[in-house]
């Protein structure tokens, strides 16, 4: 019985070691929590879908060029709970997105848009 407990703890230790930031589901594998971004741009397209909505915005760069960003955002349920509706997203509207930049691909981020019900709980 003792050996089993020791073995179990060893396995546990091995599994725990070096996990830290990588442990939290694919977020950490795909997005960098050390790279927060705030993007201001015009909405090109918005896919109001499960499990994650997708926001495509054109962000004007200081040198005049336009960078197209893809943002993975909340699903319809979470969006609705924050007071947002599919019809709130109109192509051409100006939008501010706050989130974290991706690791694997350029100009991709995971982020949220401000909603009417925000501020009721802190995040």
């Amino acid at each position: 019985m003792k050996t089993k407990i020791i073995l179990a703890l060893l396995t546990a230790g091995v599994l725990c070691a070096g996990q830290s930031a990588l442990a939290h589901h694919p977020f950490a594998a795909e997005y960098d929590a050390e790279k927060p971004v705030t993007l201001t741009g015009t909405l090109s397209r918005m896919e109001w879908v499960n499990p994650h909505s997708w926001i495509y915005i054109d962000v004007k760069q200081p040198d005049g060029t336009v960078q197209k960003w893809t943002i993975e955002s909340s699903g319809p349920g979470a969006m609705s709970r924050r007071g947002l509706k599919k019809t709130d997203f109109v192509a051409g509207m100006s939008l501010v997105v706050k989130g974290y930049a991706g690791r694997l691909k350029p100009a991709i981020a995971i982020g949220t848009v401000g909603g009417p019900n925000d501020g009721a709980d802190k995040q």
Binding site: K4, A8, L9, T11, A12, L15, C16, Q19, S20, A21, L22, A23, H24, H25, P26, F27, A28, A29, P51, S74, G75, G77, A78, R81, R82, D121, K122, Q123
Partner: protein, 131 residues
């Protein structure tokens, strides 16, 4: 990545839980081979349980503020505590002595156990859908 291993460990754990609950629910006699099965199931849980914990805790610590603020996570933990207490007290008694009780007792215990443990698993998944 850890989350995928968490799912495998959870499945084995749930298997170890269900294998006893299914027998409690069954019309067949609970006794006979049941003691051996319950003991073996316990061993499965003793191995799968730590694996579940060790793949679960890093998920929490890597984003503790988010989980701490999540009512769904709190619910899951509450349900987990209830499931654990229920399993090591009432269910263990009934699994050992089920034959000497009216038949509705093991069946009720089996049903409650399934509800509690599947509830833990379901609320675990639901954390991802609540923000």
């Amino acid at each position: 990545m850890t989350q995928t291993l968490h799912l495998v460990a959870v499945s084995v754990f749930i298997g170890g839980i269900l294998i006893v609950d299914v027998r409690l629910l069954g019309r067949r006699s609970v006794g006979e081979s049941h003691a051996a099965i319950a003991r073996s199931a316990q061993r499965v849980l003793f191995w799968a349980g730590p694996a579940v914990l060790m793949t679960g805790i890093p998920q929490f610590t890597s984003n503790a503020l988010r989980y701490y603020a999540s009512p769904v996570f709190a619910f899951k933990m509450g349900l987990l505590a209830a499931a654990l207490v229920f399993t090591v007290t009432l269910r263990r008694r009934v699994a050992a002595d089920g034959d000497r009780m009216p038949s509705w007792v093991p069946r009720a215990v089996g049903a409650v156990s399934i509800a509690l443990w599947m509830g833990v698993a379901i609320s675990g998944r639901w954390i991802g859908f609540s923000e």
